[in-house]
Amino acid sequence: MKYFVMLAGDGDVGSWDTLTPEEQQAVMAQFGAFDEACEQRPGVELLGGEALEEGTTATTLRTRSGEVTVTDGPYTEATEQIGGFYLVEAPELDTIVELCRVLPAYDVEIRPVVDFG
């Protein structure tokens, strides 16, 4: 199965800009540990992942009654905003949940990806 892993909000980590260089380094080390953990786990493959720019730089397209409107800002209006993502192949949910514990303490949403086969 393929899972889309979204890292949202700042959770226990705190906003990136407010972190000391040492703290930033520690967070980066946790991302590295996640890569490592995925690599070592049989049946798991890290297919991709990126950090995203601030939600304020997002552009949202909405289609209503056939009409597409383009607006500034992220889709979610809540404070939780997506800061990055991974695309991971894993055999089942518990494996990916376990692996995500290695990540910095962001809020994480795990969503199965539709496989169009």
């Binding site: 199965m1 055999p91 949910l93 518990d94 086969g117």
Partner: protein, 391 residues
């Protein structure tokens, strides 16, 4: 391409649903197969394969069932041991944290006890359509999100046992004291929860919370026939103790006696078991050792900080030290239990005993304003009326 894919997804979901349905039909009467999860998986897989027919079944496509990694009984495990392991795994699957909490007990009743969706809906006081949708959503979530049937030797299983026990106890209490409606007791639901607890205890006999849970529900359920008479609530003190099931009480007491001091939820259940034992031991209501019960409640209160436990302790204290002492324990609970009808009901009873008639009357009124269970309401009303007659 999308259509093809969607059809396949449906196929996988339908196949698993169908496998679940067949299991629910067959297991209760025909007995649970040697390897239930494997049976489910095999049945669902066959249905998928049947549906896909000519298409070559690549391992990855069958994995639409998502649960394969855990489902297929590991070849290394002794076949004789897998029966129990797989049944634990099935209960654990229903209680996976990614399954909606409201769906866990219904799913467990459906899959492990084999209760029909209609019955589960009735027991949970929701419409059949609502319950069917809830169960379907949960099964879909399990399939699509890829929730595995965990290997029971995993530490994760031990970690999830508390949740499993809580789910079963929830199902039990839902039957023991339904929140609203005409029936005081739904002992059929409670009975099924007892059965689940028995299965769980049988599967992991060394797990303290499973043992304590089974003991507790056995002890409480043994009083079922004495709790209602002519459609009316019969409180513990007025129950005909000859209607209690002695064998169940003995079995429960023996289990409680075998429990070592523990911590967390297991200890909570053990202390509740002690209390149930005190009631079981008393051959008449007058013989009840209320001071022992009050001290068990005090420990339980320290462990849980639950205001409901304090409320129960007030009753025990009133019995052992007098109504006035019981009333004192109640003070300060109103803020914590603003909607609970038992708080004013207990206060009313204690006030009546202490001769505080005005407080008793006001408290009965408050309790009646909050209580939604018809049988309990009738009981409260009758109590209030005796108050008016006496004074």
């Amino acid at each position: 391409m999308l259509v093809a894919r969607t059809r396949r997804l449906d196929l996988a979901e339908d196949a698993l649903s169908e496998a679940f349905a067949r299991a629910s039909d067959r297991w209760p009467t025909g007995g649970v197969p040697v390897n239930p999860a494997g049976w489910l998986y095999t049945t669902a897989s066959r249905l998928v394969i049947g549906g896909l027919r000519a298409e070559a079944i690549h391992g990855r496509k069958v994995r639409l069932l998502a649960v394969d990694a855990g489902w297929v009984a590991p070849a290394s495990v002794d076949e004789l041991d897998t029966l129990d392991d797989e049944r634990v795994a099935l209960i654990l699957l229903c209680c996976h944290p990614a399954v909606h909490p409201e769906a866990r007990a219904p799913l467990a009743l459906r899959l492990v006890v084999g209760t029909s969706t209609e019955e589960i809906a009735r027991l949970h006081l929701v419409s059949v359509a609502t319950m069917a949708a809830r169960i379907t959503r949960a099964k879909k979530k399990i399939v699509i999100a890829g929730i595995p049937l965990s290997s029971p030797v995993d530490d994760e299983l031990r970690a999830r046992l508390d949740g499993v026990c809580r789910t079963i106890y929830l199902a039990f209490t839902a039957g023991y004291a339904p929140a609203r409606g005409a029936n005081l007791l739904r002992d059929d639901l409670a009975g099924e929860a007892v059965e689940l607890a028995a299965i769980l205890h049988g599967l992991v006999p060394d797990a303290p919370q499973a043992r304590a849970l089974y003991a507790l529900v056995l002890l409480q359920h043994a009083r079922r026939d004495a709790r209602v008479r002519d459609g009316n609530l019969v409180t513990l003190s007025d129950q005909d103790r000859s209607l209690w099931y002695d064998e169940e009480l003995s079995a429960g007491m023996e289990l409680v006696a075998s429990l070592a001091p523990s911590e967390g939820y297991a200890e909570e259940l053990r202390l509740q078991g002690f209390i149930a034992c005190e009631h079981a031991r008393a051959s008449t209501a007058e013989d009840t050792d209320w001071s022992a019960i009050a001290s068990h409640y005090l420990r339980l209160e320290a462990l849980t900080g639950s205001p409901v436990v304090t409320l129960n302790r007030a009753v025990a204290v009133a019995e052992s030290e007098g109504a006035q002492a019981g009333l004192a324990v109640l003070s300060g609970l109103d803020e914590a239990l603003p909607h609970n009808h038992r708080l004013p009901a207990v206060r009313a009873e204690l006030a009546r005993r202490a001769g505080k008639i005005d407080l008793a009357r006001a408290s009965y009124d408050q309790a009646l304003g909050r209580c939604t269970n018809d049988v309990e309401r009738a009981h409260l009303l009758a109590q209030r009326n005796t108050l008016d007659q006496a004074h």
